[in-house]
């Protein structure tokens, strides 16, 4: 075992900033990382054990004890629950004879839950040994458990009904479907890899590339909407001989799965965007930060990178141009939503816990390894390639005044056609409901932009999706009238934020616990009117957290209280303010009764 660990550390040249890779590889080899392993890594890298544990214990896909030869992570997202996750969980538990959170006594199979794995268009879904198993049914679960008990390989358990497109590529063999419902003129239009690189080498200087992007008014597609051309320009002008380009593929916002599909079908478009950014900024290194839930794509993406090296699109002298050197590596995460925040993502790629940094300095000035770093979303890089190929003018003809081009949307929830839609900006929520096959009269609410976004009611379905109206990173969850909004949606989201808080800022660490607790109290029929008022007023304290996660962590509650207050009031009706309906005498004196030996 010691040899295995040393070989892995040697592979990364004993570089402590590659601790994430080291831990991921060690876990793949040994199944889990115990105290002894931590000690070995600590000795080898010459860093304190407590610092290794700091990284290790931050990410929920790292295990400190065995989690089974087969490790099942059942998706606990809102949409998964809509589509019968509880029933699937019950069947798993019955067939395995264990509860969720346990491993079978023979150590063969472990059953756990995890937050949204990016499969909201094909729920309920689970990850088994990092392979996605979408659209689960009780019969499928029974069969999977049977094959696991027979100790079949994961390939045998998957079977051969692979998803369409590149999902069936021999390096992926995934059961995931793309569900591309509508292709638009930018991302999913015709594309020949390498043409944009050829064009810049022939015709455009680095400043020309930036000028073209600025003229296009392209804004970041991750949700914050920062102008891309400006970001690249700042990074280009930033002092430093070494610069980095990061692609943020840590798509963790529940209900979002567009990057999964783009990376599956158009990886070269993503990588070409990074190459162009490298050319414009003067960076030679790119890193694709891939969320652990998408690690099943890693071998396939590595293969694509190798192809691009062979085609002369990566490496030295790209397209024969002297001084145009660029290469990309893939950095996998290990399960932490907060790493989608750009500075937390950088920390994670440096082998640390994913704790957002204080700003300033911004990553464009001092990012990865304290060098100027551009972090952009998967979709942003793709769009940049198309703008370089077709020109800013072409791009500006699409969309609205402040939102140019198209947006790739992840649509899920209570509708007939969940999936990926690439639409020109300027569509209304009603348009989307129609396209996705949801009847407006059946729809209670639409969650726009995930839990950190906004939950809107019928009154706002005519609003336009655009940076100037309803801004979104691209996910819409449709919630029908048959759902209990507070119990099925808000409680799940508040639980999610509590689990995903890094814990550094006091209001985020503590109020996320309190929000979940009070929502639970209201759902249990034990809330009072003052609980609702408190939830609303305490939200102001969240604004002073360091990062976007903390600042928006009360949004599920406040946007639903604002738009659906009557639902809350129904749940607290009849409860008298003077008393605490949540007080339970028996549980309050439980410890005492134990001490005095009474039951």
């Amino acid at each position: 075992m010691g040899n295995t660990i040393n070989a892995i550390i040697k592979k990364y040249n004993g570089d402590e900033t590659r601790l994430m890779d080291i831990l991921l590889d060690v876990q793949t080899e040994l199944g889990f990382i115990n105290d002894w392993t931590v000690e070995q890594i600590s000795k080898s890298l010459d860093i304190p054990q407590v610092e290794i544990l700091q990284t290790l214990s931050f990410y929920h896909f790292f295990h400190r004890e065995p989690r089974g030869k087969y490790t099942i992570y059942l998706n606990d997202s809102v949409v998964s629950n809509f589509y019968g996750k509880e029933e699937i969980k019950k069947v798993f538990e019955e067939e395995l004879g264990i509860k969720t959170g346990q491993v079978t006594p023979d150590g063969l199979i472990g059953l756990f839950e995890t937050a949204c794995i990016g499969m909201s268009d094909q729920e309920p879904a689970a990850l088994i040994n990092e392979h996605p198993f979408p659209s689960l049914t009780p019969d499928k679960v029974k069969n999977i458990v049977k094959l696991m008990k027979e100790k079949k390989s994961i390939e045998d358990i998957k079977g051969n009904k692979y998803g369409e497109g590149n999902n069936s590529h021999y390096l992926m063999r995934s059961l995931v479907n793309n569900n591309i419902r509508e292709k638009g003129a930018v991302i999913f239009s015709d594309y020949t890899p390498g043409e944009a690189v050829k064009k810049i080498v022939k015709e455009l200087s680095s400043t020309d590339v930036i000028e073209e992007l600025k003229k296009s008014y392209l804004r970041g597609r991750g949700g914050a909407g920062f102008p891309t051309g400006l970001k690249w320009e700042i990074a280009r002008k930033a002092k430093g001989d070494i610069k980095y380009i990061f692609c943020n593929a840590d798509e963790g916002e529940p209900g979002t799965f567009k990057d999964r599909v783009i990376l599956t079908e158009l990886p070269k478009l993503v990588f070409e965007g990074m190459i162009i950014a490298g050319y414009a900024v003067g960076a030679k290194y790119g890193i694709l930060y891939l969320r652990n839930e998408y690690r099943y794509m890693k071998n396939y993406l590595e293969h694509v990178l190798q192809e691009m090296r062979e085609e002369g699109l990566l490496g030295s002298f790209i397209n024969g141009k002297k001084g145009f050197d660029f290469d990309i590596r893939i950095q996998c995460g290990a399960g932490a939503y907060v790493c989608g925040e750009e500075s937390a993502l950088i920390e994670s790629a440096e082998g640390k816990r994913g704790e957002p940094r204080d700003r300033p300095p911004f990553p464009v000035e001092s990012g990865y390894l304290n060098k100027p770093t551009v972090v952009n979303n998967v979709e942003t890089f793709c769009t940049a390639v198309k703008i370089i190929l077709n020109g800013a003018e072409w791009y500006n003809k699409m969309g609205t005044k402040e939102s140019k081009g198209t947006k790739v949307l992840s649509i899920s929830g209570d509708c007939e056609r969940p999936g990926i839609y690439e639409l020109e900006w300027g569509f209304s929520v009603n348009d989307i409901l129609k396209k996705a096959g949801a009847k407006t009269q059946d729809v209670l609410a639409v969650q726009v932009g995930g839990p950190s976004g906004n939950c809107i009611s019928e009154k706002e379905f005519n609003r336009i999706l655009a940076y100037e109206d309803l801004s979104t990173g691209g996910s819409l969850i449709i919630i029908s009238k048959k759902r209990d909004l507070i119990k099925d949606v808000v409680l799940n989201f508040q639980h999610f934020f509590k689990e995903e808080s890094c814990g550094s800022c006091v209001p985020c660490r503590t109020l996320t616990v309190i929000y979940e607790k009070i929502i639970k109290k209201i759902v249990d029929g034990k809330g009072t009117k003052s609980d609702i008022d408190n939830l609303l007023s305490w939200a102001a304290f969240m604004k002073n957290n360091r990062c976007g996660l903390g600042q928006t962590a009360a949004n599920p509650t406040i946007s639903t209280i604002k738009n659906f207050r009557q639902l809350y009031e129904e749940k607290v009706k009849g409860n008298i303010e003077l008393f605490n309906p949540d007080f339970d005498e028996n549980s309050a004196i439980k410890d005492y009764m134990e001490v005095v030996n009474k039951k």
Binding site: V50, S57, G503, S504, P507, I514
Partner: protein
């Protein structure tokens, strides 16, 4: 040669060296901005958020802000003071703080801030977490009940070889600060004392030593925290 800049705090005109930490710059101008995770001489990390002020209208932590010419700073607005009060309350309800039995009582910055902000009963429900006390270390006690996770010990303490002794473990509500068994092994009495002194509360204590300064003669027994800065 250092350049001095002019800026305002709550309308009062202030002067300080350009690029100075706002907390320090305010102090020089006899203005107290409450802090907890900040500690003079170690890099700031905006964790507790108590020092949040408005810089040209936008919230930012004063410990991570450097002063510049014409900066317009607001620190004592009603909203900010309510926020600070909330943070102090949150720190009390998320841990288990029993001041009368704590070695740090009277020298504790959290307790002192609670007095300054006249906190009687918190507006939030107590969480009563189950936390442990670690006493395996020959010289130190780590009481997780009292830890406010401010990272001062993580940022400010290194052993004689320059290695970290403290680090975070886990995340979110389970966040904790742990002591390294190896790097903390042979620490000197002086370093152990430094660990205790850097802690704003009673989460790190030196073993077999207590109440050397009696209650009644402690730092905040008579004057509220920050009053030394304001009275100058």
């Amino acid at each position: 040669m250092s350049i001095f800049v002019k800026f305002t705090i709550d309308g009062q005109i202030c002067l300080a060296e350009e690029g100075k930490q706002l907390i320090e710059a305010a102090k020089e101008n006899n203005i107290y901005i409450p802090t907890l995770c900040n500690f003079s001489g170690i890099p700031p990390k905006g964790s507790c958020r108590i020092c949040t002020v408005l810089i040209n209208g936008k919230p930012a932590t004063a410990c991570t802000t450097k002063v510049s010419e014409n900066m317009d700073i607001k620190t004592s607005t009603e909203e900010l003071e309510n926020f600070r009060k909330a943070v102090i309350e949150l720190l009390f309800i998320e841990g288990n703080h029993f001041c009368p039995s704590c070695e740090k009582s009277g020298n504790c910055e959290l307790q002192a801030l609670a007095y300054r902000y006249k906190i009687m009963a918190p507006q939030f429900p107590y969480l009563f977490p189950k936390r442990s006390i670690e006493a395996w270390h020959p010289k130190l006690i780590k009481d997780h009940n009292r830890c406010i996770l401010c990272k001062r010990c993580i940022r400010g303490i290194k052993n004689e070889q320059g290695k970290s002794i403290f680090a975070y473990g886990k995340r979110g509500e389970n966040l904790e600060i742990n002591i390294d068994k190896e790097t903390s092994k042979n620490i000197s009495d002086e370093l152990a004392q430094k660990c205790m002194d850097i802690c704003p509360v009673g989460a790190i204590l030196v073993k077999e030593k207590g109440f050397t300064v009696p209650i009644g003669k402690r730092k905040y027994d008579y004057n509220p925290i920050g009053s030394d800065i304001e009275k100058k």
